[in-house]
Point group: C2
Chain length 338, copies 2
């Protein structure tokens, strides 16, 4: 292993000078810098991460708690992980993966062993047992999701109430006065993942303001059969030109298929607005008018906030809830406005 001592010896300087050349934390003469950099190059020196972490109390690692747990909804997760990893690297941080099935123990481990400088937590439940643990960790933590009580932790998420409102407003604008919401699985509802209620609350509020009647079909069993049953019920309740809102993005493909099999044409015989990523919406057959989940925007905002926290972690953290604006994209499952 090549150490900074080797570099120092080759460059004819002290070890601390090598360190300062790398960190830029004090001024170095041009000549010294040149010699040190040449030696680093020649030896292909790379600083030992453990030693650096030990001496500097900074690991240059972000802990990422992902919802890998038996039975967790893992669809749509990848864009988050990918964006977070990219943002981290852009600031010279690495990402350590921790699975949610470790629960609070994973958080304690990350902080207790000084494995990372900050933590990103995904898949937050309304009353998440990990929140108080995270808040007491002594390491900056950011939540992707909004629990009932963030306990002072900053949160970033899609503005789900707004997403609900957008769906309701769009359906009102194209002439529906009756909407059926096709909700989530019993498992998701039981876990009380925050966005379920937040979306529905926004939707209900806007629907009420616009004089739209709405009903909710839930729980929806996972898989084809569940979607089929939900569709059957929704069509029975939806009137002669039904309008469906589907925050449960998993169910959308099967719903579309059931609709097609009945000879119904989305956008003509009925309207459907999904809550899903644009990719998923585009992949629908036909492409689905959707309110976008914007996983990349949400991740980027979360990381921005996290790095701000990391910079000025001495200052009293101002807890915030940042909500990312969803976008409505009109595709083929609704008739165009006007």
């Amino acid at each position: 292993m090549v150490t900074s001592r080797d570099v120092a010896r080759l460059a004819g300087v002290s070890q601390s000078t090598v360190s300062y050349v790398m960190s830029g934390r004090r001024s170095i003469s041009a000549e010294t810098r040149r010699r040190v950099e040449a030696a680093i190059e020649q030896l292909t020196y790379q600083p030992n991460a453990g030693a650096r972490a030990l001496a500097s109390q900074r690991t240059q690692v972000i802990g990422l708690v992902v919802p890998f747990a038996p039975g967790a909804d893992t669809s749509g997760l990848l864009p988050f992980i990918e964006s977070i990893a990219n943002c981290a690297r852009a600031e010279d941080y690495d990402v350590l993966l921790v699975t949610a099935d470790e629960g609070s123990a994973g958080l304690s481990r990350l902080a207790g062993r000084s494995l990372c400088d900050a933590i990103v937590m995904m898949d937050i439940e309304a009353e998440d047992a990990r929140i108080p643990v995270a808040a007491a960790l002594g390491v900056p933590v950011i939540l992707i999701g909004v629990p009932d009580d963030p306990a002072g932790l900053p949160c970033v998420d899609l503005d789900f109430p707004r997403a609900g409102r957008m769906a309701a407003a769009e359906l009102a604008a194209i002439g529906h006065d009756r909407v059926v919401v096709i909700g989530h699985s019993a498992e998701v509802i039981a876990r009380d993942v925050n966005f379920v209620r937040r979306f529905q609350r926004g939707f209900a509020a806007e629907a009420a303001e616009r004089g739209i009647h709405h009903e909710i079909v839930a729980p929806v069993a996972p898989g084809r059969a569940g979607a089929e049953a939900a569709l059957e019920e929704a069509l029975a309740r939806g009137g002669d030109r039904p309008a469906l809102v589907v925050p449960n993005s998993q169910a959308i493909p099967a719903l579309l298929h059931g609709i097609g099999r009945r000879g119904l044409v989305p956008g003509r015989d009925l309207s459907l607005i999904g809550l899903c990523t644009d990719d998923a919406a585009e992949a629908g057959e036909p492409p689905v008018t959707n309110v976008s989940l914007e996983p990349r925007d949400v991740s980027r905002r979360a990381m921005q906030t996290l790095f701000r926290l990391l910079d000025r972690s001495r200052e009293p953290a101002v807890p915030t809830v940042e909500l990312v604006e969803p976008r409505l994209a009109r595709r083929r499952t609704t008739i165009p406005t006007g």
Copy 2:
């Protein structure tokens, strides 16, 4: 921060005794062990990862190189990451995520900075520029995928030639003597990801042995339009009861839809065998007869091999190619045998 010195003081022993109690690397009297463990509990002591890594030259971290790169095929990736993370934790390792767009630089960083004890590399190309770099790293590396020249690195992957053979054999068994293979996108072909050719080679061999005529439709443009064009061509070439083999799992949903729209019934008017995960096959409409990709098996095998390497890393590594047996699951897009 609580250190092992604090634990030692509270337990009335030396610091090294605390270390030995934790590592179990020498025998400790029952009474001492009890006192030390009580102190650890009381102070909720957790060892500092950086210090431990520095002193022991072991990080307890596995580096995972995932194919997050602009335009990379990222579908079906999550089960790999998830399995790998779970296997790692089961052996008390954490997982550090490195994105493939860092290329060889990411590998050098992982090893050069002693960020991890071993590396798992995914998404291997036939002639992958990272292989020689990885082979010279001085850290155990395992490949998920089989390059043309593994340069001594152990590889684990699905047995794609066998998968190709299984698809051909099944179609022969149900009476087809003419098959159209619907291949990959230009981008995947250009990257020369190893499994493309390996699957086709196996398929072609078995087809030849069984006297099956086959043609390949490729490249297939991504998205709905590409699938539609490919289907059109395949049906034109497929005879009166076409048989399709689709190693390009991304295209399967759109193909099924195109088939349905033409009023054709899979399993009656034509046969289709996909190369995809069982989950994806089950989610098809109708469920697709498939040769399974077995991401969890592949990952588990890779991690087993990796840990074996890590244990006896002194011994001369015996480079191996481990191939995981695919399984054929008959669902609704082929007629039952016999």
